[in-house]
Amino acid sequence: MARFNKLHAAAAALFLLMALVVPFIPSDYLFDAILTPMLAISLAALGLNLLAGYAGQVSLGSAAFMAVGAFTAYNCLLRVPGLPLLVDLGLAGLVTAAVGVFFGLPSLRLQGFYLAVSTLAAQFFVQWALTNFAWFSGGDTSGVITTPPLFIGPMAIDSPVRRYLLSLLIVAALTALAVRLVSGRAGREFLAVRDHELAARVLGVKILRTKLFACAVSSFYIGVAGALWAFLYLRTVEPAGFDLDRSFEILFVIIIGGLASIRGAFLGAAFIVVLPLLLSRAGAAVFGSTFDSGLVDIVEKIILGVLIIFFLRVEPAGLSALVARIRWQHITRSRTVETSGSLT
């Protein structure tokens, strides 16, 4: 069991702040356009980080698993009347976990970018299947499905703040679970497989079981994230939003935030959600109306690409390491002051 340390206390304080204080900020924009999508992206990145950062199996198909989660949640709500929302989200995670294990099977024989390429198969196949078979959309052929109204018990989840709070609670619970997971035996086995498969095997780590378990847990998280993304952020379910670019985006979140770091997923997600908003504001302020949304996309792409290369070169542990270093400097500086104080 992970010891409850200062870091956990800080996380708990942050959660209380987000849950008790932030909801009183009177801005629907803040919840609908920033915080709710950020939470969903964080959860997906957390899932990918368990697989890629901790267990070392890079996947380029995260968006496909988000789509599986979203469509499972939609279909279960549609076909099982009276299904509680939380059970529905759990089912979304479980089905995605099963699909993830299926597409994770090649990882038993492949490593590195061979596996990365094979996860593209999942990306293209899932998107194709969801578009081509009307059954997945409940017979709706328009391609865009509006999500049904959501309830937890008698309470309708129908306002920006409520959608945000529900996301927050689910993400917080799953994050706590993930912290527990990576600080225990499973986390150590993930790292062992990542760092040296043969050595891990010699130490008695069951490679096959560990890899498939990593696939399952990771896909569970990504599936729930997909359901949150579709139900609480977009409020529509459509395959088009879960394309390869979204997969890359999740991957970029964990590279920028920090591989094999829980808080990295949150830092990276905050960055990736806020960057385009800041860019379009800054662009409009500096260049006026010539800085249109097309140009924002292009500039955002270049900045993202440069940042990826920058972080891989200079700070492979991402924003998470920067935060850790600032904290460390803060601690050492205050200690130095203390010591020098006691000397004089």
Partner: protein
């Protein structure tokens, strides 16, 4: 079964496969000498085609535009080698792969920022009249592409096998430390191989651009050529050709004969499934030399 129609579909598929091979060769060149799976290859194809077509539209004659673009591709290659890959030397392959993924975003963005996002048409002066061959119609343009691909493969084979430069390339591919030890300058070798890869991307960009129009989707050809590489092996030029032919053939046949039963569009993923199924049986691909699993 209509065998004449079957043969027509098969030949069209094989010729489409040649187009995939052209892009795959660029990957193989980089992978062979520096063990980097360069995801930015598609972005390089886009960049080359956009630069060429924009210069050509500005009024530069074909060969001048070609030469200028080639120069730009070589400079781009040298910059990539110096700024992105050399600092990351000795990192795990997957880190290098992710770096080239970031790189592809930068190149795609830069190409669109410089040259705009509109679609350009490109006319190489080859008329696309169907050639009749025993009642089967074959696109003349496709045949031209196949000939160009053949010439490039022959030239690269000669370069690698019979020249000192090629020997140096092979030495660097075989063992970087040993190559350094015999006095080879790896940065020079890497820069020149990026130049060659730039040339291949330019040719691929022109042919694909003439076929589909020069636009952003050109950079997506990278996704079509990845299964080709998996099938053929990342380090074999011959593999890239044979892999491309197999993928092109099966993809087209599957789309025509299986597609109608499942609602079409299976060419989006069938190549990956073929490659994946093959990989499970033989993880090094058809002609790959190195073992995938290194401990």
């Amino acid at each position: 079964m209509d065998w004449g129609f079957f043969a027509g579909v098969a030949i069209a598929g094989l010729l489409a496969g040649v187009m995939y091979s052209l892009v795959a060769i660029g990957f193989v060149l980089i992978y062979k000498t520096s063990s980097v799976l360069n995801f930015a290859q598609g972005a390089m194809v886009l960049f080359a085609a956009l630069t060429f077509v924009s210069l050509h539209e500005e009024g530069l004659p074909f060969w001048v535009a070609f030469a200028v673009t080639l120069g730009a591709m070589i400079v781009l290659g040298i910059l990539i080698e110096a700024l992105v890959l050399r600092p990351l030397v000795n990192q795990p392959p997957i880190t290098l792969f992710l770096a080239t993924l970031g790189l592809s975003y930068v190149i795609e963005g830069a190409a669109q920022l410089f040259w705009g996002t509109q679609v350009h048409s490109l006319d190489l002066g080859i008329e696309d009249v169907p050639l009749p061959l025993n009642a089967i119609l074959i696109s003349q343009f496709d045949v031209f592409c196949a000939v160009v691909a053949g010439v490039i493969v022959a030239a690269l084979t000669i370069l690698f096998r019979y020249t000192r430069t090629g020997l140096a390339f092979r030495a660097a591919a075989e063992d970087q430390y040993a190559a350094l030890n015999t006095g080879l300058r790896l940065p020079v070798i890497w820069a020149s191989i990026w130049g060659v890869a730039g040339f291949v991307s330019l040719v691929a960009g022109l042919l694909w651009g003439a076929r589909t129009g020069v636009q952003f989707s050109l950079s997506l050809v990278v996704l079509k050529s990845l299964p080709v590489l998996v099938l053929g092996g990342f380090d074999s030029i011959l593999g890239a050709i044979v892999g491309g032919l197999i993928i092109g053939l099966t993809e087209t046949l599957a789309e025509v004969y299986i597609g109608p039963y499942v609602g079409g569009g299976i060419d989006q993923w069938i190549a990956y499934v073929i490659a994946l199924g093959f990989l499970l049986v033989r993880p090094t691909g058809l002609f790959g030399q190195r073992s995938v699993e290194r401990v």
